[in-house]
């Protein structure tokens, strides 16, 4: 269990993160748990600064869109500097909606759950 609710930061290209956060809030009804960060107009240092600022003082998962690129790089830099941060790549709506209801989990457990939930949502029905 986490002493304080985990924070979720969604970092992505262009307007993607904002759209995912808004959709997750609309579906779940939970607001304020997720913060969107865009890489638009940023070099590597500025993206990392935005990610760190969005995390604040809480333990957090940084959800990034791709397992490569500027957002991923910034998230990994932030996670390297703090044990309170985990990175999950390949963010999708299913994992975010599930995450906002499980913010009391321990950080490693929450990260593993998010990755599992996101992967499970990808199917060939």
């Amino acid at each position: 269990m986490s002493d304080v609710p985990l924070r979720g930061v969604v970092a992505g290209h262009g307007p993607l993160a904002r759209a995912l956060v808004e959709a997750a809030e609309t579906i779940s009804g939970v607001t304020g748990a997720l913060t969107a960060v865009t890489n638009t107009g940023c070099d590597r240092a500025l993206i990392e600064q935005r990610v760190v600022q969005a995390i604040g003082d809480s333990p957090a998962i940084v959800f990034v869109d791709m397992p490569t690129g500027s957002c991923f790089f910034a998230a990994m830099q932030a996670a390297r500097a703090s044990a309170r941060i985990k990175v999950v790549t390949g963010v999708n709506l299913a994992m975010l909606v599930d995450f906002v209801f499980h913010r009391d989990l321990a950080l490693p457990e929450a990260a593993e759950r998010a990755a599992r939930t996101g992967a499970t949502a990808i199917r060939l029905p």
């Binding site: 107009g41 070099d43 590597r44 397992p67 490569t68 690129g69 991923f72």
Partner: protein
């Protein structure tokens, strides 16, 4: 076969490089020239994760790149050379006039810089220096992805 692209991009290896340019050029290797990344195994591992299987990434400091550039230019594979800043690219071009054309792919806002294109912020000094290089005969072109218009740096207003 010369390197296909000499690109300045402060995000280094990312989607526009790997997908936007990598696919149409059929890249087989990327040379990342950056003193800081060259000194960090951890950062190199992260950048390697960003390229498709079969694409080699070579990390070099600026001084190593000056020495090794002719060999990379003779490489029969299709390659791209990447720096994060103008200074490093112009250091290579100073030693090797064959560094031509220079692609300005992404330089973002910093104090003292102003927007020249949505993906290209340059200080007046940086712009003047690049235009000087262009006037000396090296093509210097802004273009973030191949499907975007190529803009000659000489046409950018100061």
């Amino acid at each position: 076969m010369p390197l296909r692209l000499y690109r300045v991009d402060d995000r280094l290896i990312h989607g526009q490089v790997v997908v936007g340019w990598g696919r149409p050029l059929g890249l087989e290797f990327i040379v990342l020239v950056d003193d800081q990344v060259r000194a960090s195994d951890w950062e190199q591992d992260l950048y390697r994760m960003g390229v498709p299987a079969g694409v080699e990434v070579i990390f070099a400091s600026v001084s190593e790149a000056v020495a090794a550039l002719p060999a990379w230019q003779r490489d029969q594979r299709r390659g791209l050379l990447l720096t994060a800043d103008i200074e490093s690219m112009l250091a290579l071009r100073e030693s090797h006039p064959s560094v031509d054309p220079i692609n300005l792919g992404g330089l973002h806002h910093r104090p003292g810089r102003s927007e020249r294109l949505p993906y290209l912020y340059l200080s007046d000094e940086e712009l003047a220096r690049l235009q000087g290089v262009a006037r000396s005969g090296t093509a210097v072109v802004a273009q973030d992805v191949p499907t975007a218009p190529a803009v000659d740096v000489k046409a950018l207003g100061s």
